[in-house]
Subunit: 355 residues, 4 copies
């Protein structure tokens, strides 16, 4: 595994879905940051499942136990370790013998990579539950960024083929940001919530799942951040973003649609506004040549359908060496995309604090 | 800048568009690799402009002068430095005073990032010309990978709204790979070439440019490569890929389209075939949980329209502090996407040798 | 802080002397390693203070609570997090206002580096107590190395001006290694123990402290490990070794004494022995050009006198801005060097597993 | 190989002793630095052999050809590549078959590490000649540091058993620094020069070589630099310093001698002086807990005797598999330590710019 990441500010994520606890060490965060624990717990809650039918039924309190690096509510500059107990893990004995890898999961690849020793219970270290430590660490970075005028928000851009309105790329208002930051199911056009939830519920009822796209932004980022060619803003953001389970694509600004534009349209014209250089469009998503322009950073991350479904699926039996069928009994999370917003925002915070 | 990249095998790219030379140091490549210089020069040529009207008219010989790390045609294990002379640079005196940053380019962000000292002549270190050293270094890695049975290919998936056929995700034949590897303008369905070239030529005639998508694959990759969460195959590939100028998005396997599938469709079923575990579909693009599955690695990179166009554009005058118009005189490259294939392939080779 | 280290196998150390707990995440250790917990606890015990008068009187159980990465006693390949509770921390309220920095400690430099926010209680994250997580992580690496035939040992080379016998550089027997590995106060010539303890006790009685040198070796290391110029064996070993508090120097093989030899003496002649290339002397400490020779790796680390002493010392009062005197009341550890052996061995294990 | 190093400012060293050229890429150096080429050439000259009998007779012009990253004499922020031609390489045909590895050299370990493919001509990439690129890159960093008030100097602390005066640890005057910076054979007590040269000449006449110690300092370093535990000042300095060929030990401040002090002596008392916190002694060499104190950084590096000697030595014949004797004909460099000063200074500059 290499669950450690970062250059200036580093994280080291640990834990398994059905181990005693999960957590993270955040190393290099600035000293003297007074933590807003309410905001941090709000973010932890936005990620946590069990709030409504759109999520898995496993209920976790997700209480972060900060065991180092914070004194009297303020960061000391020393590594911050947070441990989150797994309160809801199944208590019985576990075997750890992988016989039938679940399609779409990392069961098989983890089995090959770790010579059959990876913890397969509930996905082990590959579980979506490991996004909780990312939210914890990212939330702290986010508070540090906020002190420098940088704010982050995201919304559910799509669930299956139901689309929200996109961010207005040139200017994203603080009211919208604040509103999105409070929601577990953040949408620009809240009228889309019923349709999206209905699509998710339909999938759930048929033992199936759906995917979606998260659109995320950062405003207040100064121009001039990023170290091209290979530690530019896009490199760093994508490098951490593909650490979020189920992310299969990322695009900045107009992204893939930009390939259908002509340069005369896709080039963002410069203009002075109140003495500041801005661009009048933002097809480049706030990044040119890997360096921030000062315009909103905007990107979208594609989240595949939750691989856990309740239908019979074709697989192999690694013990018998024969083809087989697997059927997973029990409730499942039909759409991890629907609560990935705060995870994507947190991963962005980790990236930005490293620029 | 941080034009150095890599963990096991590292590159350090240097040079400017109108400096004396460009080049790269490749550090950590395996010793004892007998270089196939014909293949290497074929790749250099596939990238080089000036072959046809689809490219810029600047003709560069792009002769790689290997000055270290290779003895008697074989790698020694010491760093390989390659210097490529800029034979075609303009010889006159240069000022270096950025007055009007070109929209879509890194002129403005480089100016801010480097306090006004960046070399702006022809884009300086941000120039697309800097992809030549990437092709050089990647080609050597590619030869090392080939010895381990790994082959890489790509094709022009789209130019503007003209699409080639996609790769067949489960099995990509060696004949196709070999055919694509020889082409500057690689297509699966060669009937699309005329249409694509016509779109490019139309853009050029109106002083404009177009973008496109490169689809790239690697076959023969063993299962079990990649170090999740943050040094998984997708993290590492995207981290280097966004170092290629003009890349604005990347998606693996079915990518963004996967978000519209249901899990029962997107999960790739496992199956034994000739004693080997395969998947009967490959929506995950050969990567599950950041680890290779043994199926073809498939991804697509979005290349924005060449920002250099010959039309008047709105910008600012950084000296006078006023809004302004810029018009670039001279021939331009109307579609860098059309010769990005070998660059994307080379960057993939650099990523794979680091897994 | 940057308490994270490592390239292939990474550690991230966290905790403060008087916080709730200390610990470490070990990321990238091999999967399938069956942990020998008795040996691991033996190492934890060798480091722990409170065993005899040569150490501080603070008694810590130092029970490592493994909360991830190990299942049924075997490593899974996922990050291993270990938390060690601070059972003996003072329970009263703490201020955190640094007024008088202790000479020789990191109080002042930490104050400057972390803008006055570092946890100063008992040294905070700079405390020698933080060597416990290093021993934990290093002990696991050591068990992995042992499976590959590599064994590590060390002894107290000197305390003040009392010297033990040095390692015989060309061949270090398994009996000696095994004997040293069991001791808290490891010596080649055990007759020196009384003298050394007497020097330490004398210092303690006068409220003072003494330093010493640890000599450490690794045998069974294959030739050909290390990546010069900058990730050679000496670079990597020294890079981690200076993370051990109080280390002020390191020398390999004959080290500083080698500067007084002539080349005809210091050059280690090669010779075939049982079909294997050996050197008949080992002034280079098993490393040539940054790469292991196959001979024992031998180095010495200088450990300065424990900075905590019970005598009045001159310092400054950072609040009043005036010169001041500080006198620390209470028992102190008069010689951290005397129990640094297992820490140095553990740090070496971390280095070797990264070569 | 891993001849790339650095976190913020990176170097990638390339070339072989008898290849066409050697050089370095310096990536991440600040933009806008006006290079003082005279000072840079002075440093190149201080390293270059052939000036007197104390050095090897190979005469190299060592002209650095800067091919990128500098425009109009000023750094642009882009990677700086410097190529230094090997003007004096032997022109005949070369075999590359290692039969008899030279004792004390990396011939044998390089052979094993690179499977017999390493370039053995003149030591290849392991040659002391590769310190020229380090001096080039370090000299640029040094000029950037100087703008921030940091100055570096060193002197030959010892050759064999002849010792110069040590630096006065608490205050090192600018006059001394300036004087040392101009010398190829820098000494505090210049009366020692004759004795040292005589020792070197005696060794040379008997076909032998001697070692020595370089003492190096940096003054003007602000307090508060360094990221403990593992990227503290000592870790970073030692990590790059062991990349200098022939370095076998490093000690900071009083170093190994500190182990013989009592804490009451070795602890450096704090004191206010002109409103600034200083220490009245500097046994810790300007570093406490891995963080700079603001006092002079002082360390010593042990340089082993040049392994190239002209006497017959015992070795093995790797082709025949039998013990053998090797005798190297021709003039040799009897004391690389005597011109290592500027290399050590340059490596320190690389370290400091990364803190």
């Amino acid at each position: 595994m290499s669950s450690a990441w970062g250059n200036k500010v580093k994280i080291s994520v640990f834990g398994e879905s059905h181990g005693s606890a999960i957590g993270v060490v955040l190393d290099g965060a600035p000293a003297g940051l007074k933590l807003d624990m309410d905001e941090l717990m709000l973010n932890m809650g936005r990620r946590a499942p069990g709030r409504d039918k759109a999520a898995t039924q496993r209920k976790e309190a997700d209480i972060p136990n900060i065991i180092s690096g914070v004194l009297n509510g303020t960061t000391t500059g020393a590594p911050i370790c947070c441990v989150i107990e797994n309160t809801n893990k199944r208590s019985g004995d576990y075997g750890n013998l992988l016989t039938k890898p679940r399609p779409g999961h990392a069961d098989y690849t983890g089995y090959v990579r770790y010579n059959g020793f990876s913890d397969i219970r509930g996905g082990g270290h590959f579980s979506g539950r490991l996004t909780a430590p990312i939210v914890f660490a990212g939330s702290i970075c986010r508070q540090a960024l906020k002190q420098n005028g940088i704010e982050i928000a995201s919304h559910i851009y799509s669930i299956a083929d139901i689309y929200d309105e996109p961010f207005e790329p040139v200017e994203i208002g603080h009211d919208l940001i604040n509103r999105l930051n409070e929601k577990s199911f953040p949408l620009i056009d809240t009228d889309k919530e019923d349709k999206m939830r209905s699509v998710i519920e339909n999938a759930r009822l048929s033992g199936d799942s759906v995917g979606g796209i998260i659109e995320c932004c950062a405003v207040g980022v100064k121009p001039g951040l990023g170290d091209p060619m290979f530690f530019g803003a896009e490199n760093v953001i994508s490098s951490v973003m593909f650490g979020v389970p189920a992310v299969k694509g990322i695009e900045f600004g107009a992204g893939f649609d930009m390939t259908k534009m002509r340069g005369s349209k896709s080039n963002d014209p410069f203009k002075y506004e109140n003495g500041r250089v801005i661009t009048t469009t933002n097809n480049n998503g706030g990044i040119l040549g890997g360096i921030t322009t000062g315009m909103p950073i905007i990107f979208r991350a594609a989240i595949k359908p939750t691989p856990s479904i309740s239908q019979p699926q074709s697989t192999v039996d690694l013990q018998s060496g024969e083809n087989a069928t697997i059927e997973i009994i029990g409730r499942h999370d039909p759409c991890i995309a629907s609560r990935a917003s705060v995870v994507i925002e947190s991963a962005l915070a980790l990236a930005l604090i490293n620029l």
